[in-house]
């Protein structure tokens, strides 16, 4: 590989990108526009779209008080659940299993009584088995919901029980801990938008550009020189990685300063996933460029692939909102891995001990797609 050619090609690609004002404008405006649109409309009420069911089996004055308190929350939208008598708990849990709701809170029979007893025995030690309990059911596959829900519920219940027992509320410290995980829709949205940007820039960008260069004989002309294909591809990768990295950082900074998006995890890990996502979608873009016979067909083919992924891949809507039968398929797609990884790093602050499957999966996609691209790629 000739170093001079590599740098010149990288520089040329960056110049072409920067000089293409419309591309610069729209590829940056598009994600920011989405952030502003969705962030200010949907995010207006605060609170991410966590929904839960509360099943009041006790139906006492005290339990109804707790339900009312839960329902004032902005973080989780609690709906009172009343199923058929006798099996209503099973029905609520079935909904949880189906993914129709994210958590179920059950106030069991006898709750009010126990609270009443506790009030009487206020001064004495209460045995653990005697304490009034609420049951918190959550979806084990969804760590984010679990964390948010658990902290929220225990906070409310804690506060509630303490006020019932005339304890002085000593929740200030705990409340802070809860707040740090209080995620807004914008926190959910920004990682999705970064993933979307990586996907569409690389899929559409690579496919369209390479197909058009091929059509115009640019690739063939370079083939007539002593330039090596590997040098050309290496320069493409370098230029696109730096562009995508920069764009991702800009979007993240806009999110951070304008909307207060949180980045709870490591920036290094975040950038690692940005790079890995870029590589895998760039390879897929090269495959499309190989498939497309004309630059006119490259766009629609890339769109055919990326458009559905916008909706099912967890960019705007959580994957768990997708039809049950689709979910296992969706989870095999690189976009799902990328959105999950970015979200976990930014929202929950997850590290590699949790995210190694995503890293591995995206790595496999990159290697596989690169292999197919190198086999199917045509200079002309």
């Amino acid at each position: 590989m000739r170093r001079k050619a590599y740098w010149q090609l990288t520089l040329s690609q960056l110049r072409i990108f920067v000089r293409n004002r419309q591309v610069v404008f729209w590829s940056l405006m598009f994600p920011v526009f989405f952030m502003v649109m969705l962030g200010s409309f949907i995010g207006g009420g605060g609170g991410i779209s966590l929904g839960g069911l509360v099943l009041d089996e006790d139906q006492s004055a005290v339990s109804q008080q707790l339900v009312k308190k839960l329902q004032t929350s902005e973080v989780i939208e609690f709906t009172s659940f009343t199923g058929t008598k006798g099996s209503s708990r099973e029905q609520a849990l079935e909904q949880l299993k189906q993914g129709d709701t994210q958590l179920v809170l059950v106030i069991p029979r006898g709750y009010g009584e126990r609270v009443g007893q506790a009030k009487v025995e206020a001064e004495t030690e209460v045995e653990a088995s005697q304490v009034a309990q609420v049951l918190y059911y959550y979806d084990e596959t969804n760590r984010l919901t679990y964390e948010t829900g658990r902290l929220f519920v225990s906070q409310v219940v804690d506060e509630f029980s303490k006020s019932q027992l005339d304890y002085k509320p000593v929740v200030t410290v705990q409340e802070k801990g809860v707040l740090s995980l209080q995620l807004e829709y914008i926190d959910f949205l920004v990682p999705g938008i970064v993933a979307m940007m990586i996907m569409s820039n690389n899929l559409n960008g690579v496919a369209g550009q390479i197909a058009s260069w091929r059509e115009r004989g640019i690739l063939r002309r370079m083939q007539g020189t002593t330039l090596k294909a590997s040098t050309f591809i290496a320069a493409q990768i370098t230029a696109r990685l730096s562009l995508n990295g920069l764009q991702a950082v800009i979007v993240l900074l806009v999110g951070f300063f304008v909307f207060g998006t949180q980045v709870n995890g490591s920036w290094w890990l975040l950038m690692t996933f940005v790079v890995l996502g870029t590589l895998s979608f760039m390879s897929i873009g090269f495959i499309i460029a190989g498939l497309a016979k004309t630059p006119e067909s490259a766009g629609p083919i890339a769109g055919f692939i990326s458009f559905p992924l916008l909706f099912v891949g967890g960019i705007f809507f959580p994957i768990k909102d997708m039809p049950e039968f689709l979910q296992p398929i969706i989870h095999t797609l690189p976009i799902a891995q990328l959105t999950t990884a970015l979200r976990q790093v930014m929202n929950v602050g997850a590290d590699l001990t949790l995210l190694w499957p995503q890293l591995l999966y995206l790595g496999l996609w990159t290697v596989g797609a690169f292999w197919i691209a190198s086999v199917t790629f045509k200079w002309e």
Binding site: R2, K4, A5, W7, Q8, L9, S12, R15, I16, R19, N20, R216, G217, I218, R220, R221, M222, Q223, G224, T225, T226, L227, E380
Partner: protein, 315 residues
């Protein structure tokens, strides 16, 4: 003189159709070698096989002693390529394009003298997008020269250019020729081939039909002049009448051959003056009115027509 390119039986088949059929020729160092023929004659395919851009289905070729299939890297270092399509980055400037292509080669010429030589100094910092057709072609030639190649391939360099831009490009090619640069030039303009080329290879339907200097090719025609005229539309449409006319034209003084297409007749003649006298007498007898009557010396176009029965522009 030493041969710098040797082509031995190169063939190319697309979808079972033979587009280049066992062509054989040699190019001498320092000459401008023309490939002349209509669109689809196989000129571009022949050139692209030599440039290593297409794989031949048969035969072999060497450039400067290097095999174009086995030693393509060596070949690419000694050739300069200009393609039919513009094949440049619209958003880069002339200077940037030159620097980019210079970086592809181990050894390259300084770019600014080349830019001057191609009369692009004023446009050095202009983007490719804003160049005129002639300027783009000159840049394409400058790019092809950046590695100081031994052989320069020019594939229809003046197609689509206005007459003035064509002239400028001719001057540049003639200047390069003066400096002893070997060039292979394809064209479907016979005047261009005549002005620029030392030798011309006439191609049709994938085959070489003649190869010689322009002068010798024209001499090979049995006649050196042509008398041309046009018939009225309604007469030209009457095929019986035309057949009769052609027979009587053939008997006119000094006429060697008669061609008739659409409305126009060409009488090839060894003595234009005698043919004209006879032709006018015939007009009087048969009361046919001719228009656009003219005489000219025979050209490469006539050579092509004699050999293929078709003109260069119809393919």
């Amino acid at each position: 003189m030493e041969n710098i390119i040797e082509v031995d039986g190169l063939s190319k088949v697309y979808d079972k159709k033979t587009v280049v059929n066992e062509v054989r020729f040699a190019v001498r160092r320092g000459e401008v070698f023309g490939l002349l023929g209509p669109n689809g004659a196989g000129k571009t395919t022949t050139i692209e096989m030599l440039e290593g851009l297409r794989k031949p289905d048969g035969g072999r070729a060497t450039i400067a002693g290097f095999d174009t299939q086995k030693q393509m890297d060596r070949v690419k270092a000694v050739i300069g390529v200009q393609l039919q399509s513009t094949s440049m980055f619209d958003l880069l400037t002339v200077h940037e394009m030159m620097e980019l292509y210079a970086s592809f080669y181990e050894k390259s010429l300084p770019v600014e003298p080349l830019i001057d030589e191609m009369a692009l100094r004023e446009k050095m910092n202009a983007r490719v997008k804003g160049l005129s057709g002639g300027q783009k072609q000159r840049l394409a030639i400058a790019l092809a020269l950046v590695n100081d190649p031994q052989v320069l391939f020019l594939d229809e360099p003046t197609t689509g250019l206005d007459p003035q831009a064509r002239r400028v490009l001719w001057d540049i090619i003639l200047k390069l020729k003066e400096r002893g640069k070997t060039m292979i030039l394809s064209t479907h303009y016979m005047d261009e081939a005549h002005v620029l080329c030392d030798r011309i290879c006439l191609m049709d339907q994938g085959q070489i039909i003649a190869l010689d200097t322009p002068q010798q090719l024209v001499k090979s025609l049995s006649s050196e002049s042509a008398v041309e005229f046009t018939l009225p539309v309604e007469l030209a449409a009457d095929s019986d009448a035309i057949a009769q006319f052609k027979e009587s034209w053939q008997t006119l003084a000094a006429v060697t051959r008669v061609e008739f297409r659409k409305q126009t007749a060409v009488l090839y003649s060894n003595d234009a003056q005698r043919t004209l006298v006879d032709l006018l007498a015939w007009c009087g007898q048969s009361s046919v009115r001719l228009s656009d009557l003219s005489t000219r010396t025979a050209t490469l176009e006539d050579v092509f027509i004699q050999m293929t029965g078709r003109s260069l522009r119809e393919s």
